[in-house]
């Protein structure tokens, strides 16, 4: 068996850890731990981008790694943490489906995304092409997390995690998007987060809770 170069091994390792983290987020019940997992995901993402930058000597990827580090490891988790503290929502929560079932659905999704990514990664010429399937799987798993969670903050973390997965997809398929676009995406995410922060307070003010079951009044034909 031929061993891969070190950088590829590291990238594979990070990719696997990302997949593991996506599952961990799916299973995590506590909001604060969820934020920690999200920050870890950002860190792994940033490290893997840095490794790609180093192994392919593409300086603009260092910038995007730095951007990830700043935004997704420091700023967003900090904002979320403050929000959770201010809103005092540390409860354990129950999802829509129990966790083992969610996991099984998650595994099915992973198989599905691996199959979907296979033809694309065969076309790719990047050293990271094989991780595209994992990126796609992370996106799908975050999507699943958004569907199964009933509380506002976990849904938002799911949303941000999905963005992480997309970012990873961009790095693994094409060595990242042009800087303008990446900056734009980062700005959108940040602004979105700030708006959501405002929004949480509005929801809480109105309903005294962040449980989304209050937000199910509007139905078809009423």
């Amino acid at each position: 068996m031929q061993a891969l170069p070190l950088s590829s091994q590291l990238i594979n390792l990070f990719a696997s850890v990302l997949l593991l983290l996506a599952f961990a987020m799916l299973a995590q019940r506590r909001v604060v731990s969820l934020i920690g997992l999200f920050a870890t995901q950002g860190l792994v993402l940033s490290l893997s981008t840095a490794v790609v930058a180093w192994s392919t000597s593409q300086p603009h990827l260092y910038e995007s790694a730095g951007l990830t580090l700043l935004l997704k490891v420091i700023v967003l988790p900090w904002l979320l943490y403050r929000l959770v503290r201010k809103l005092d929502v540390r409860w354990e929560f129950e999802g829509l489906i129990n966790i083992p079932t969610t996991m099984l659905i998650g595994i099915v999704l992973v198989v599905f995304s691996f199959n979907l990514a296979l033809p694309i990664s065969q076309l790719a010429s990047t050293v990271t092409r094989s991780t595209l399937g994992i990126a796609m799987a992370s996106v799908m798993l975050s999507f699943l997390m958004m569907i199964t969670r009933r509380k506002a903050i976990p849904q938002v973390i799911g949303f941000l995690a999905m963005e992480n997965g997309l970012f990873f997809a961009a790095t693994s398929a094409t060595y990242g998007m042009p800087m303008v676009v990446e900056l734009g995406i980062a700005l959108d995410v940040l602004v979105g987060m700030l708006i959501l922060g405002v929004f949480f307070f509005q929801i809480r003010e109105q309903f005294d809770s962040l449980d989304l079951k209050h937000l199910e009044k509007l139905k078809e034909g009423e």
Partner: protein
């Protein structure tokens, strides 16, 4: 299509810079009596800049600006003009409307400041999405358009509006994330042909090499893009957010959402479709668009009958009309695409006019429930007739423009996709019955309410309807020429 000199692109800069400057100014001015006027003036200046840009393009043909990052061609220039125009009339409409809302105590000065500032930013994001040549920036602008409107939808801070805004944010956020993945795939396919750093996200470059792009990747990319931007267009079954956001937000916001944002989202889909058509041998993109379009038309038409809220009713009507346009682009060919573009234009004008009229009506009666609004003609003939004419126009009555475009789409469909015609005809019939039977008693029904002393500001409504009427009778030759050129581009 060459890079233009700096002198020639000043209009692009103005079109984009004016709303941003307006947003900043309005944020600084805060809520004074002058704020709505500033809002209208800025919108008017944007309209003037857009008009100047249009003239340039009419005279000099398509232009690329700022290192090819901006593109104005026949396809988007009329959308830019339309966006600026409806943006302006809506700001005119919102001036008295929002003042009355404030008097009714539904809004605080702080929220009005947010409203004005966000309104301008929203216009900016739409204009950016339309003029950019970079598919990545297009995505960023679309996402920004969601973000700016989330707070507008929840402006009243009622439980229902918060719910609508949350749904809007999450659904469109997820949808737009799919579009990002599609964009990544598109970039991936293009980078293999154009090489890294070769502007592989620039639409013009993509279009130039579209025949060489990898078909499998592009097919997958288009599915993601269609689902992603399609969520914003309001394709069934991704339409859940749309009626809520329209019903719960302030009426001017409903008007621009329906009249403009849906157009811009559809514009994004069509830009991508052009690329995919070139890369894929079959009619993959066209079939998908026809499918989504037809499904939206049929489902929305049948849901119309169940609506009890007037704004939700017209929101579903928007889904239906977007479905018709999408179907037209899906059928393709010079006539159907021409009709699609025309329908986009007349739908925007008519639907925003209807929302203006509905806004006045609900404000006067204090309710959005259809059964509680009766005899608008007695209360205020202007509103009553405005709503009636708008409804007739949107339902495709001749001689309004909607009739012309729907007629064109139907006849093309009969010739090229005969299987779809019964669905379309049934849906249009059902929609007519549902909407007309609900609006007719609203306008002419018995009422005990007394005549209102105030004269409503109906100028925007009748301006729009007059334009729609004109487009039904006579399309100015340069406009028809644009449509033809754009239709050729869309294919």
């Amino acid at each position: 299509m060459n890079e233009q000199g700096a002198g020639r692109v000043i209009e692009v800069a103005f079109v984009l810079a004016l709303p941003v400057a307006g947003a900043l100014l309005l944020a600084l001015v805060g809520h004074r009596a002058v704020a709505p006027t500033i809002n209208a003036i800025v919108s008017f200046c944007t309209l003037a800049a857009a008009a100047a840009l249009t003239v340039r393009v009419v005279e000099g043909g398509p232009l690329l600006a700022f290192h090819e990052n901006f593109l104005v061609d026949p396809f988007n220039v009329f959308l830019v003009a339309l966006t600026a125009f409806v943006g302006f009339t809506t700001s005119v409409f919102s001036r008295p409307y929002m003042r009355i809302e404030e008097q009714h105590g539904r809004l605080t000065p702080a929220r009005l400041r947010l409203y004005h500032s966000m309104y301008q930013l929203f216009c900016f994001t739409m204009l950016l999405a339309l003029t950019t040549n970079n598919v990545g920036i297009l995505w960023v602008a679309m996402e920004a358009a969601t973000l700016t409107t989330v707070l507008l939808v929840s402006l009243y801070r009622t439980p229902a509006s918060l719910e609508a805004a949350w749904k809007y944010f999450i659904l469109c956020g997820v949808g737009i994330a799919q579009a990002l993945f599609g964009t990544i795939l598109l970039y991936f396919a293009a980078e293999k042909v154009l090489g890294p750093g070769g502007g592989a996200l620039l639409w013009t470059k993509l279009n130039a090499v579209r025949g060489q792009l990898e078909p499998t990747v592009l097919a997958l990319a288009f599915v993601f893009l269609l689902v992603g931007y399609g969520t914003k267009v309001g394709f069934v079954p991704l339409h859940n957010w749309l009626p809520d956001a329209h019903a719960e937000g302030p009426t001017p916001v409903s008007a621009v959402l329906s009249g403009l944002l849906l157009n811009v989202a559809l514009y994004a889909v069509v830009r991508c479709k052009v690329l995919v058509d070139g890369a894929l041998p079959g009619a993959f993109a066209k079939n998908l668009m026809m499918g989504f379009g037809l499904l939206s038309v049929v489902v929305a038409a049948f849901l119309l009958a169940r609506q009890r809220d007037i704004k939700r009713l017209f929101a579903y009507s928007s889904i239906e009309h977007m479905g018709i346009v999408t179907f037209a682009f899906g059928v393709g060919g010079p006539i159907a695409s021409f009709a699609g573009l025309l329908h986009m234009t007349v739908h925007s004008l008519t639907k925003s006019a209807i929302f203006f009229a509905v806004g006045h009506a609900t404000q006067k009666t204090g309710t959005q429930i259809i059964d509680d609004i009766r005899g608008l003609v007695t209360i205020s003939p202007m509103i009553g007739w405005g709503l009636m004419l708008g409804t007739l126009a949107i339902l495709g009555m001749p001689p309004f423009g909607v009739f012309a475009s729907e007629f064109l789409i139907l006849t093309t469909a009969m010739r090229e996709q005969p299987w779809a015609t019964p669905f379309l005809l049934t849906a249009l019939g059902v929609a007519f019955a549902a909407v007309f039977s609900k609006v007719q008693p609203m306008v002419f029904g018995e009422t005990t309410a007394s005549r209102l002393p105030l004269r409503p500001a109906m100028l925007p409504v009748f301006t729009h309807l007059a334009l729609v009427l004109m487009l039904g009778l006579w399309i100015p030759p340069y406009l028809a020429d644009w449509y033809r050129q754009a239709a050729r581009l869309i294919g």
